[in-house]
Amino acid sequence: MRKEVLSHIQYSGWKYFVVLLASILFWTTVFSALAHPKAHEKVSISCFVDELEIGLINERLNAEKESITAQKLKVISVENFPSGDPMLGVLLATRKITSDILIVSENVLALNPSGSAQVDPKTFIPFSREKLEELLEGKVENLDFYYVEGYAVGIYLNKEDGTSGRFGDFYKGNERCVAFLSNESVNLGSLYDIGDPSNRAALDVLVYLLTK
C-alpha cells in the first residue's frame, strides 16, 4: 500500500497542487470582489490639481471619517492627476470618472492658446443651489458657486483672496479650485434625485474641506 501511495504521489502529485492553486486563485478573486466597497460605502474624489498634498488629504480624511460623516464608510479615496493631463477631457467625455467629487483647478477649465478648453465646463450637470444649501443645513457660510450660463455646476473650494477652509491645509498652489459633484453619486443626499437621501457622506466631506 505504501508503495502504491508513493507511486500515486509521484504521478498525480501535480493534480493536488493544481487543485490547491486553483482554489486559492478562485476564492481570492471572488473575495476581493466581495470586499470591494459598495457605492454607498466609499466616497471617491478625483483631483486634477497641482501642488495638492494627496497623501496628507487621504490620511486625514480616512482618519477622521467617523467624525466627518455619520454614514458608514469603508474608505474615502482621493486620487490626484496632473492638472495638465490631456486625458481629463476624454475621461469626462466618456464618463470614465465615476468619483463622487471631482476637484479641478481653474486653469484646467480656462481656454488654452489653441482656443479650446481642456475641459468644457458644460460637461458638468447643474444642480439646484437651494437644494444644496438646504442639504448643507447652513454648515458652510457664503458658498461660492461656479456658474456656467447662469447655472450652478460647481463650488469653489478656495476664495479669490487665497483664503480657504481645510482645503488650504492640503493645497499649496495659488489657483482657485472647483469641486464638481457627480450626478451619479449616491452619497450626495439625493441632490440629483439619486440614491438614499440619508447617504450624504460626499456632502459631509465637502463641508469638511470648506470649513475650519
Binding site: 500515486h8 493536488y16 487543485v19 486553483a22 482554489s23 476564492w27 481570492t28 471572488v30 473575495f31 466581495l34
Partner: protein, 152 residues
C-alpha cells in the same frame, strides 16, 4: 468452484463503481454548499477566516476526489476492462506465486507459474478477488496473460 477477479457478478460490480462515483459527486456538491454558506456568512470581520475555509473546503474536496478516484474507482474499472476483454483458456497446476509485484497494463500483479503442457507464466491481479495457492489445479481464463477467472 469458480472465482472471478470481480468477486461478484458483473452488474453488482458496475453498480459498486457507480455508487463510488456518486459518492465523489456528493462530496463535491457538499463542498459547493459549504462554499455558498461561507460566502453568505462573510462580513468585514470574518473575511479572512471565510476565505480560508472556502479554500480549505475546496482543496479538501478536490484532494478527496483525486485520491478516491485513483484508489477506489480507477483500479476496479481496470479490472472490469480486462474482465470484459477477449479471453483464452489454460489448464494447469500452480507451482509458484511470486512475492514481488509486477505492473501489467497499469495493474499490480503477482507472477504465477502454471504447470500444464509445459510451464507457463500468467499474472494474477493483486487487487482482484481471486485467491490461488501453490499446488492447486485450475482452469484459467486469461486476458492478455492476466488471470480473469479460475475454475476447478
Amino acid at each position: 468452484m469458480k472465482q472471478t477477479i470481480l468477486g461478484m457478478d458483473k452488474d453488482s460490480f458496475v453498480e459498486k463503481i457507480n455508487f463510488r462515483k456518486r459518492l465523489i459527486v456528493s462530496a463535491l456538491f457538499g463542498a459547493v454548499l459549504l462554499n455558498v454558506l461561507f460566502t453568505f456568512l462573510r462580513n468585514d470581520r470574518n473575511h479572512g477566516l471565510m476565505l480560508f475555509l472556502n479554500i480549505f473546503v475546496d482543496a479538501l474536496g478536490g484532494w478527496f476526489a483525486i485520491s478516491y478516484h485513483s484508489f477506489r474507482i480507477s483500479p476496479p474499472k481496470k479490472l472490469l476492462r480486462i474482465y470484459e476483454a477477449k479471453r483464452s483458456m489454460l489448464r494447469g497446476k500452480v507451482v509458484e506465486i511470486s512475492e514481488e509485484t509486477y505492473t501489467i497494463q497499469s495493474i499490480p500483479c503477482r507472477r504465477v507459474v502454471v504447470e500444464g503442457n509445459g510451464q507457463q507464466v500468467v499474472f494474477l491481479p493483486e487487487n482482484g478477488a481471486i485467491t490461488l495457492n501453490v499446488g492447486e489445479s485450475w482452469t484459467f481464463s486469461l486476458a492478455s496473460g492476466l488471470v480473469v477467472e479460475v475454475e476447478t
